[in-house]
């Protein structure tokens, strides 16, 4: 049954990358194992909803984004887009309608733009390759509209410019314009502001929020920055070592976190405000383990200050701790 409430549903999504074993292991018949980058996650994104996927490097957040944009193939679970199972759809022609609906914004606008293409070409490219426009004047109209929505005004002034003639903030706007030119239903933005100066970040965030408000576009905002996630998102999903440890409204996750990892993340984030200064940074000890050697039981237990016996043996399921608020922690049981 097609679900109209959610634009995207991830069900037990899994991406394991096989490890190429050595010759010695092969001769001895040892299993080579796998990097469990994404290890069974359930996540829904509603129409026009902004969901932030928060995690540290190595948590698998970028891999999730790559699966959604069909740049990586899941090894398990399902991905439903507007009710259709897209898990195993492959090939450029089969994916054309999907690419029309789902677009990606990358972190590094310097690398995402071809230095030899003008702004017009960059934004026109998806319209041309997805064959969404009939003639040249329609194309110009759509490109102008996209540039204007991304805050590049007047659009005509930017048509003939090359990426090196733009500032960092303008470049990221061009990337956004390219993504929204096809009027997608969902944009996956992977750290879209982390390379930008603080004074420019807010401009880009405003553009993204306006897209949702005006066009009911859904946004998956991938970031490592919890306060930023709180600012922009309706819902925050916290990822640790390939698994979602907590999902809830932006306010619940920020002000009432129920998973010890979310608490640690919040406490480690430096704060600004009138009461700033010298708050002891209560962080965690140690580092994120390798996704090739995921700890048994709760994968966070070796670093968890509250871990007890059960955490070392059994993996906690997602437990409801409030309305629309889940925590995968035995303490919540």
């Amino acid at each position: 049954m097609p679900d109209t409430a959610d634009i995207l549903r991830l069900e037990s999504l899994q991406v394991h990358f096989p490890i190429q074993g050595g010759l010695f292991d092969h001769v001895l018949g040892r299993p080579a194992g796998a990097v469990r980058a994404v290890d069974g996650i359930d996540l829904n994104i509603g129409r026009g909803e902004i969901v932030a996927l928060v995690g540290e490097s190595g948590s698998g957040k970028t891999t999730v984004g790559r699966v959604i944009t069909k740049l990586a193939q899941p090894t398990g679970g399902r991905m439903l887009f507007e009710g259709r199972d897209m898990t195993s759809v492959q090939g450029s022609s089969a994916l054309r309608p999907y690419r029309h609906r789902v677009q990606m914004i990358f972190q590094d606008a310097y690398q995402a733009l071809n230095p030899r293409h003008t702004v017009f070409d960059v934004v026109a490219e998806p319209l041309r390759s997805l064959r969404l426009v009939g003639n040249a004047s329609q194309l110009t109209e759509r490109v102008s509209e996209a540039l204007a929505s991304a805050g590049l005004n007047p659009p005509g002034d930017f048509f003939a410019r090359f990426p090196h003639e733009l500032s960092g903030g303008q470049r990221q706007r061009v990337v956004i314009a390219g993504a929204l030119a096809v009027r997608p239903g969902l944009i996956v933005a992977d750290e879209p502001v982390s390379m930008l100066d603080v004074s420019i970040r807010a401009q880009i965030l405003q553009v993204l929020v306006a897209l949702r408000d005006k066009h009911n576009m859904a946004l998956l905002f991938i970031t490592h920055d919890l306060p930023l996630a709180w600012l922009i998102a309706d819902k925050i999903a916290v990822l640790y070592l390939g698994k979602l440890v907590e999902i809830g409204s932006a306010d619940d996750i920020t002000f009432n976190p129920r998973h010890p990892y979310t608490v640690a993340l919040r406490n480690a984030t430096p704060q600004v405000g009138a009461n700033a200064g010298r708050a002891e940074l209560r962080g965690l000890q140690g580092e994120v383990p390798s996704a090739a050697r995921v700890p048994k039981g709760c994968r966070f237990h070796p670093r968890c200050p509250l871990a007890f016996d059960r955490c070392k043996q059994e993996e906690p399921p997602a437990i409801e701790v409030g309305p629309q608020h889940m925590s995968a922690c035995w303490l919540a049981a």
Partner: protein, 335 residues
């Protein structure tokens, strides 16, 4: 700062420092009349966006300017003695033992083909004249100091995580017992939890070794957590200087205020996104008068023509025409 006169003389005194870069034959001013003093054991944050001159300021102090940079004005004094910051050879004895730098990209700053213990021991041999054995012993001590078991010294940089590599960089910087550490975005490439660990380590080392710290960052919240004082730079100039508590509670310069407001702050409860309009300034084509005037919400006629000087205001300094009216009006303007 004038207040330092009754205390002991500053450890580092930067006076009217200006640095130009030659860009296709046209000199472009990266930093302009930068003046500040650093006291022993003090932690100062140097905050600015890309192109604000924060890294140039720090590199000038460390005598590490690139060959196309020229110190056109000003001087840097260390314990009262002028440093030959534009002469690589004469600067050499000062580096490491007075001021050392912790760079951002530890992977690029470390030599990939040498074990880390050797890389930490090297400055000890070169600078302190230690034998290999002594230097290795010192390197092991330094590793333990930064929280790495000494036996991990035999690892190569690629075998360490980002946080561990940054710890190695800090150990190296401490090798010759400097009194000033310059951290150039030392935690920018790290995850928040690792960042918190490194900031905590820097704070502990500061109090244990009495180090002064210049922390260069674009992230005001990092400064809020671990510095005593903060200097905000914009287009090559210091626009505001004050204690962390004062700057965050009562920012004076409009740029500082907008910068603080543009940081998401859940504690404020306000989900407001207020961008600073316009683009960062182009150094080759610098705006006239106050470089911030094209983006400033409080702009006045004088701002486009006259560069505001960095004047003492309250206990800090601010470079803004809003605060240059008569002494009595000053508080009123801010309120």
């Amino acid at each position: 700062m004038t207040s330092s006169s009754q205390e002991k003389p500053p450890l580092l005194d930067v006076k009217g420092l200006s640095v130009d870069y030659g860009l296709k034959g046209v000199p472009s001013r990266a930093i302009d009349s930068v003046s500040f003093a650093l006291r022993a054991g003090e932690a100062v944050g140097l905050v600015g966006e890309s192109g604000s001159g924060k890294t140039t300021t720090a590199m000038a102090i460390a005598g590490l300017l690139s060959p196309n940079a020229r110190v056109s004005k000003g001087e840097v004094r260390y314990r009262g003695e002028q440093l030959p910051i534009d002469d690589d050879a004469s600067m050499r004895p000062h580096r490491w033992s007075e001021t050392s730098v912790v760079f951002q990209g530890a992977m690029n700053a470390l030599n990939p083909v040498h074990r880390i213990i050797k890389q930490i021991a090297e400055p000890c041999m070169l600078k302190l004249g230690m034998s290999r054995g002594e230097a290795t012993a010192r390197a092991r001590e330094l590793l333990e100091l930064v929280g790495i078991p000494a036996d991990r010294g035999s690892a190569y940089p690629h075998e360490l995580s980002g946080g561990m590599r940054q710890r190695v960089m800090i150990a190296m910087a401490l090798a010759c017992r400097p009194s000033i550490i310059i951290g150039d975005e030392p935690t920018t490439a790290l995850d928040v939890i690792t960042q918190a660990q490194i900031l905590k380590l820097l704070g502990e080392l500061r109090s244990r070794l009495g180090l002064a710290l210049i922390l260069i960052t674009h992230d005001l919240s990092v400064v809020a957590e671990c510095c005593d004082r903060v200097m905000i730079m914009y287009a090559g100039r210091i626009v505001e200087d004050g204690t962390v508590a004062e700057i965050f509670a009562q920012p004076k310069h409009p740029y500082t205020r907008l910068l603080i407001e543009s940081i998401p702050n859940p504690a404020s409860g306000k989900k407001m996104i207020r961008p600073i309009p316009g683009d960062p300034p182009n150094l080759v084509n610098r705006p006239s008068g106050c470089a911030f005037h094209p983006r400033c919400p409080s702009v006045m006629a004088v701002c486009a023509t006259e560069v505001p000087s960095l004047d003492q205001f309250g206990r800090g300094r601010v470079a803004c025409h809003l605060y240059r009216s008569s002494q009595e009006d000053k508080v009123a303007v801010h309120a």
